[in-house]
């Protein structure tokens, strides 16, 4: 004890210096730029504190753009969760041959990272006015997506359908381990006690999976909310969602008030941060069962 104290006094602790390049880099190119935006959201043009920018978020087209963004994110997260869950369940519970699992997970790892401009073109080429599926349905079944279903790739549902391309794989990646954590013994115990399959799912499996499901939903939501490139390449500026409006604001101050732009960006951070914190918190809860 005494010796430890002695050596501590003898040597100045300098180990922290080894972290400095990393810390300075992250501070300069991640933390400070973000702080600048956050602080700017609470300032007037001449730098005094104000809440007016936040209040002004409720003017013009801003509330509707947030609302559309939230709706698209919720829709793509909900559908992505549902389809991803079904696919993960199919491979984990071996409704389909066992060898499919590994390639599917690898593929999901790739596809979940694949947002961006090329993805927009892929869906345009498939579901656009002269796309592969559009023409196929029209020539063979006489179904016109636009006329019969009101479907247009440059719209709310078009964007949602496109986002699903990376939402479904992300769901598969995250929920597959959780499904694998469901022990065979629980199912057996339930059936020994006389539970039907449905009762097992309703009273055992789903309550255990619930934090994972909700958490992944939050993550998918944040994922869709921050997607910029796909939306811009697909819809140009015809769909008024937050990232597109913020993009236009950064390019040319279309709101006519730089600090209102900061407030919009701040709103984006708040929404994605809340979704991510929810995800992390629910994940910690879910891991109690996965030990």
């Amino acid at each position: 004890m005494n010796r430890a104290l002695h050596t501590l006094r003898q040597r100045l602790p300098l180990t922290w210096l080894g972290l400095m390049p990393f810390v300075i880099f992250v501070l300069m190119f991640l933390v400070l730029p973000t702080m600048h935006i956050v602080i700017g959201a609470f300032q007037t043009r001449d730098g005094t504190f104000t809440l007016q920018n936040i209040i002004d978020l409720n003017t013009g087209t801003i509330p509707s753009s947030y609302w559309i963004s939230v709706k698209i994110s919720v829709a793509s997260a909900a559908l992505g969760s549902l389809i991803g869950f079904a696919m993960a369940a199919a491979v984990v519970f071996e409704a389909v041959p066992r060898w499919i699992k590994s390639p599917l997970l690898t593929f999901s790892g790739v596809a979940s990272n694949f947002a961006g401009v090329p993805l927009a073109f892929a869906f345009l080429a498939t579901f656009g006015p002269v796309g592969l599926v559009t023409l196929f349905l029209r020539n063979n079944f006489g179904i016109v997506l636009q006329r019969d279903f009101g479907f247009n790739i440059l719209s709310f549902w078009g964007l949602t359908v496109t986002y699903l391309f990376f939402q479904i794989p992300l769901m598969i990646l995250i929920i597959a381990p959780a499904l694998e954590g469901l022990r065979r013994e629980w199912r057996e115990a339930a059936s020994i006690l006389g539970a039907t399959g449905l009762q097992y799912w309703r009273m055992v499996a789903l309550p255990i999976l619930f934090p994972s499901l909700l958490g992944t939903f939050a993550l998918l939501f944040a994922n869709a909310f921050g997607a910029v490139a796909t939306a811009i390449a697909l819809t140009g500026s015809s769909l008024n969602i937050v990232p597109i409006q913020l993009f236009a604001q950064i390019r040319g101050d279309v709101l006519g008030n730089p600090n209102l732009g900061y407030a919009m960006a701040f709103g984006m951070i708040v929404i994605t941060a809340v979704a991510n914190v929810l995800y992390i918190w629910l994940r910690m809860r879910a891991e109690r069962w996965l030990k």
Binding site: G116, P118, A122, T126, G236
Partner: protein, 263 residues
């Protein structure tokens, strides 16, 4: 397993696979339609001959390589140091590396434009070189979560402390230890981080567009607004590169030792 569960499982799987492969097929088919009536590679020929394509593509490739170099220089020493000397700091460092997943890229670049503009204390956006550097740093931040996780996983499989002590007792300095002991041992992990970085940078749009740099992503978006078939051919090329990179990751990770070393 009941028959119904099997049918439902197959249905979900087939639906999902169609969802993934039909758009890819649609994209490829569309890119071949440039000549009326027959499939041809005309769009590809035109795109590849476009000097703007060559310029923006080269720019993005160079940018990706620079980003990878910066990423390795920052991440490898940091992850090594945290494992060796400051294990208590690991959760904090990990938290910082995960932040780029929380803060949207568009917000980060918004901050750059305001913080490093011509009238600031560090006017990076004032010159071409400065903006290029800023873009490379921004890409490094975007790739940080993936790079750090890859390298940290790689370090877990080797006995960092013993290797370091052995090198030190043979008289190696820190640069030698990092460059000739640690890096070769985690090279598979570093490579998989590097390929992912490459895939991210090559098609990135938001940062490059808002910093106004002639990169491949903004070029693709711009040409998409003006040309009929070329953007689809370009997208096929972008897809091929990305998936090629990610296939390389799979290949590389096969060579990686997976058994964790003793602590």
């Amino acid at each position: 397993m009941s028959v119904w569960a099997r049918i439902a499982g197959w249905a979900a799987l087939i639906f999902g696979l169609l969802y993934f492969f039909v758009p890819l097929g649609g994209l490829f088919e569309f890119s071949l339609r440039a000549r009326r009536g027959v499939y041809s590679f005309d769009a590809y020929a035109r795109v590849l001959a476009d000097p703007q394509f060559q310029a923006t593509f080269t720019y993005s490739v160079v940018m990706a390589l620079v980003t990878i170099a910066i990423g390795i220089l920052i991440v490898v020493p940091t992850a090594f140091w945290v494992r060796l000397k400051m294990p208590w700091a690991r959760p904090y460092v990990e938290f910082l590396t995960l932040l780029p997943l929380v803060i949207p890229a568009i917000v980060i670049v918004f901050g750059y434009i305001r913080l490093y503009n011509t009238s600031s204390w560090l006017p990076l956006t004032g010159s071409t070189l400065g903006t290029n550097i800023l873009l490379a740093f921004g890409y490094t931040i975007l790739a940080l979560p993936y790079m750090y996780r890859a390298v940290d996983t790689g370090l877990r499989t080797i006995d960092v402390a013993t290797l370091t002590e052995a090198a030190q007792s043979l008289g190696a300095g820190w640069a030698t230890i990092l460059g000739r002991i640690i890096l070769p041992n985690v090279i598979a992990a570093v490579l998989s981080g590097a390929f992912l970085t490459f895939a991210i940078v090559i098609g990135e749009f938001t940062l490059a567009a808002l910093l106004d740099r002639p990169a491949f992503g903004p070029y693709l978006q711009r040409i998409g607004a003006n040309k009929a078939y070329e953007p689809f051919a370009l997208s096929v090329i972008a897809f091929a590169i990305t998936w090629g990179c990610l296939a390389l990751i799979q290949l590389v990770s096969r060579f990686q030792k997976t058994a964790p070393a003793k602590a």
